[in-house]
C-alpha cells in the first residue's frame, strides 16, 4: 500500500498541488503546532509506515490503552465535571461548592490559598496579603470542617490541589470524615502531592527533594492500607506547560517525575502493583486541537509501556493512565474576554476527544480575577453542551485512524522518549531539577513563544491581531476583606480552646517520626484531631528537614 501511496501522492503533488500553489501561495513557509512540531499539507497512509493496529492502538481498556482506559469510555458515564474553586474563607468556599453541585457539577476540586500551600498560618508575617486570595485558607481541622459542612464525604469525590502540605490536608480530610462517621476506606478523591513539578514551575515547595519524596511515599503507603480508593498523587504537566513548556516538554517532564515517584516508592520497599493503580495525572488542554487530542493518546501509550516494560508491573490497572484535564489558563485574554469562552470550548473538546477522566473548563474572566459565579456556571454549561449535544461522546476515541492524528501521536511519543533519555542521562528528574535542566528548557520555550507573539508569527486574536476597543468587564469577582479578618479570628479561637497538652504531644511525635522512618501520616491525623495548626506542623518539619531555596533563579 505504502509504495503505491507514495507514487500517487507524488503524482498529486506534481499535477494538482504545485499548479495550485503557483496561483495561491501558502500563508507560511513552515506550518507548525504551537509546540513547534512541523505540520505537512496532507497526511496519507505513507505517514504511518509500520502501523500495526493491535500493537500501536489495540482496544480501549487493553494495553497499550492508546484508545482509552475504559472499554466504552463515555458511553457508560461521561467525564467528571470538576471546577477548581476556593477563596476567602471555608464558609464562603463551602457555599460555592454547594452552588456548583446544585448546577450539576459531579466532583469537588479545592483550591487552597498560598499560605496553606506553603505551611503558614493565616496570621504569619509571610502570609501578608495572600490569605484567601487564590484559594481557601485552612489552618486547622475547624476550617476543614467548615469547608465540607453539609457535604457527606462518602458521597463525593474531592480533588485537592495541594503539594508540599498534601499529607496535612489529607489528614484534615480524614479527620473530617471520621467526625462525620464515614468509614475512611470509602473516601474517594485525589491529592496533587506532586512536589517535583513545584521545583520546576509554580514554586510551592517547602522542603528539599529527599524528605519531600519520603512524605509522598508515606502517603502512598498509608493510602494503600487505609484509603484504597484514594488517588495518592496527581502527577502534573499542567503547571509546567502554563509556565511555557511545549506539549512534548509537558509529557516528558511529567513522566520523568512519575518515574522518580514510582522508583522512590519501590526503593522504599513497596510492591509496584500495590500503589501504581492509584497514581493519577493532570494535563492541560491547550489551543491546538489535534496536537492536544494526540497528546492524551500518546500519554496513555507511553505510561503503559513505562509501567509494564520498565517497572515490570503485572496488574493491568498499574498500566492505565487516568488523568484530569484543565483548559489552558495561560491562553485566556483580558482583552475581548468573551473570546475566552470559544477558546475554552475548543480546548475542552480536545480533552474529550483525548478521553479525559475529568475536566475543568476555565472561565472567561480568569485573566482578570477569580471567576464569578455566573462565569463558572457558563464553564460548566460548556461541558454539559459538549457532553450531551455535540455527539462526540457516543463512540470511543473517534480520532483513531486519522493519518494526521496517528502521525502526531507517534511524533509526540518519540520526542517525549528522547527527552526522557536525556533526563535519565542527567541522573533522573530530581538530579536534572537540581541542575536547573527542566527550568531552563521551559524558560527557553516561553521566551521563544513571547517573541513569536511580539513578531506576529503567533496570532492571538484580540492581542496582536483583530484588536478592538472593549468595555471593561463587569461583575468581576471581589473578595471581601472582612472575610479575611474572620479567618484570623477563627484561628485564634481554636488556638485558645484546644487541648494544648494533646497538641504538644502530637507535635513531639511528629518530630520524632520526621527524624526517624516511622510513617508520618497517622501522626498528621493525630495532630489534625488535636487541632494543631498547619503552621505548627510545618514548623516542626522545617526544623527537621530544612527549607529548600530556588534551584535555578534565572
Amino acid at each position: 500500500m505504502s509504495t503505491r501511496t507514495r507514487r500517487t501522492k507524488k503524482e498529486w503533488e506534481e499535477t494538482t498541488l504545485k499548479p495550485a500553489l503557483k496561483r495561491y501561495p501558502e500563508r507560511e513557509a513552515r506550518f507548525e503546532t504551537v509546540s513547534g512540531i512541523e505540520v505537512d499539507a496532507l497526511y496519507t497512509p505513507e505517514d504511518m509506515p509500520d502501523f500495526d493496529y493491535e500493537r500501536d492502538l489495540g482496544y480501549p481498556g487493553q494495553y497499550p490503552f492508546t484508545r482509552g482506559v475504559q472499554p466504552n469510555t463515555y458511553r457508560g458515564r461521561v467525564w467528571t465535571m470538576r471546577q477548581y474553586s476556593g477563596y476567602a474563607t471555608a464558609e464562603e468556599s463551602n457555599r460555592r461548592y454547594r452552588y456548583l453541585m446544585k448546577h450539576g457539577q459531579t466532583g469537588l476540586s479545592v483550591a487552597f490559598d498560598l499560605p496553606t500551600q506553603m505551611g503558614y498560618d493565616s496570621d504569619h508575617l509571610l502570609a501578608r496579603g495572600e490569605v484567601g486570595k487564590v484559594g481557601v485558607p485552612i489552618c486547622t481541622l475547624a476550617d476543614m470542617e467548615a469547608l465540607f459542612k453539609g457535604i457527606p464525604l462518602d458521597k463525593v469525590s474531592t480533588s485537592m490541589t495541594i503539594n508540599a502540605t498534601a499529607p496535612i490536608l489529607l489528614a484534615f480530610y480524614i479527620a473530617v470524615a471520621k467526625k462525620q462517621g464515614v468509614d475512611i476506606s470509602r473516601l474517594d478523591g485525589t491529592v496533587q502531592n506532586d512536589i517535583l513539578k513545584e521545583y520546576i514551575a509554580r514554586g510551592t515547595y517547602i522542603f528539599p527533594p529527599r524528605p519531600s519524596m519520603r512524605l509522598i511515599t508515606d502517603v502512598f503507603r498509608y493510602c494503600t492500607e487505609h484509603l484504597p480508593s484514594w488517588n495518592t498523587i496527581s502527577i502534573s504537566g499542567y503547571h509546567m506547560r502554563e509556565a511555557g513548556a511545549t506539549a512534548v516538554q509537558e509529557l516528558a517532564f511529567t513522566f520523568a517525575n512519575a518515574i522518580e515517584y514510582v522508583q522512590a516508592a519501590v526503593s522504599a520497599g513497596l510492591d509496584v502493583d500495590s500503589f501504581a493503580g492509584r497514581l493519577s495525572f493532570f494535563f492541560v488542554s491547550h489551543n491546538n486541537l489535534f496536537e492536544e487530542a494526540a497528546k492524551f493518546r500518546a500519554a496513555r501509550r507511553i505510561w503503559a509501556k513505562i509501567m509494564r516494560e520498565h517497572f515490570g508491573a503485572k496488574n493491568p490497572r498499574s498500566w492505565m493512565l487516568r488523568f484530569h484535564t484543565q483548559t489552558a489558563g495561560v491562553t485566556l485574554t483580558a482583552q475581548q474576554p468573551e473570546n475566552n469562552v470559544v477558546r475554552a470550548t475548543v480546548q475542552s473538546l480536545a480533552a474529550i476527544l483525548g478521553g479525559t477522566q475529568s475536566l475543568h473548563t476555565c472561565s472567561k474572566d480568569e485573566a482578570l480575577s477569580l471567576p464569578s459565579e455566573e462565569a463558572v456556571q457558563l464553564s460548566l454549561r460548556t461541558q454539559q453542551v459538549l457532553a450531551h449535544e455535540s455527539g462526540v461522546t457516543e463512540t470511543v476515541d473517534p480520532l483513531a485512524g486519522s493519518y494526521y492524528v496517528e502521525h502526531l501521536t507517534n511524533t509526540l511519543e518519540r520526542e517525549t522518549n528522547k527527552y526522557l533519555k536525556r533526563i535519565e542521562d542527567l541522573g533522573g528528574a530530581t538530579a536534572a531539577i537540581e541542575k536547573g535542566f527542566q527550568q531552563r528548557e521551559i524558560q527557553e520555550s516561553s521566551y521563544r513563544f513571547q517573541k513569536d507573539v511580539e513578531s506576529g508569527k503567533h496570532v492571538i486574536v484580540g492581542i496582536n491581531k483583530y484588536t478592538s476597543p472593549y468595555p471593561p468587564m463587569k461583575g468581576l469577582f471581589k473578595l471581601d476583606p472582612a472575610e479575611i479578618r474572620k479567618q484570623i479570628e477563627g484561628l485564634n479561637r481554636v488556638r485558645k480552646e484546644r487541648d494544648k497538652a494533646r497538641v504538644e504531644a502530637g507535635l513531639a511525635m511528629l518530630e520524632k517520626a520526621a527524624r526517624g522512618t516511622e510513617n508520618t501520616m497517622p501522626i498528621f491525623v493525630e495532630c489534625a484531631e488535636a487541632y494543631a495548626t498547619i503552621g505548627e506542623m510545618c514548623d516542626v518539619l522545617r526544623g527537621v528537614f530544612g527549607a529548600q531555596r530556588e534551584f535555578l533563579v534565572f
Binding site: E130, G203, A243, Q443, V453, V553
Partner: protein, 135 residues
C-alpha cells in the same frame, strides 16, 4: 551616581506567588534590550526587595504579582524605599491587577502597571522612560 550608562533594573516576585513566567520573560527581554537586570527569584518579602534595590543601586524596580496580594505588598515596598531614602527608584508593577487597584497604586507612587497581554516592547519603553530623569 558613578556607574555605567546601562539602566539598572530589579525584577522581583513579592509574596508567595510562584508564577514566574512573566517575570522571567520580562527580565530577559530587558536584558536583551541592553539593560542591567537583576532578578530576585520568587518569595521575596517587601523588605528583601528594598534591600536588593539598595544593594544593587537600581534605577527601576519591576514587581510581578499574580496572586492578588498587590494592594498589601506594593505599599510596603514603597514605604521601605522611602525609609531608605530611595524615593528616586521608580516602581512598576505587572500581573493580575484590577483596573481600580491600578489607579490606587498609581496614586501612591507606582509609575505604571501592566496587565495581561502587554507586549514586552511596551514594558521596555516604559522602563526606559521611568529611568530617563536619572540619566
Amino acid at each position: 551616581m558613578a556607574k555605567g550608562d546601562k539602566i539598572r533594573v530589579l525584577i522581583a516576585k513579592p509574596g508567595l506567588d510562584g508564577h514566574d513566567r512573566g517575570a522571567k520573560v520580562v527580565a530577559r527581554a530587558l536584558r536583551d534590550a541592553g539593560m542591567e537586570v537583576i532578578y530576585t527569584g520568587i518569595r521575596q518579602t517587601p523588605e528583601m526587595i528594598v534591600e536588593s534595590a539598595l544593594q544593587e543601586d537600581v534605577d527601576v524596580i519591576g514587581v510581578s504579582i499574580l496572586s492578588g496580594a498587590h494592594m498589601e505588598l506594593i505599599p510596603l515596598i514603597l514605604d521601605g524605599l522611602k525609609k531608605k531614602g530611595l524615593e528616586k527608584v521608580k516602581l512598576l508593577a505587572g500581573g493580575i491587577i484590577p483596573e481600580e487597584d491600578c489607579a490606587a497604586l498609581r496614586k501612591i507612587g507606582v509609575v505604571k502597571t501592566f496587565g495581561p497581554g502587554t507586549s514586552v516592547k511596551e514594558i521596555i519603553d516604559a522602563v526606559k522612560r521611568a529611568a530617563s530623569p536619572r540619566k
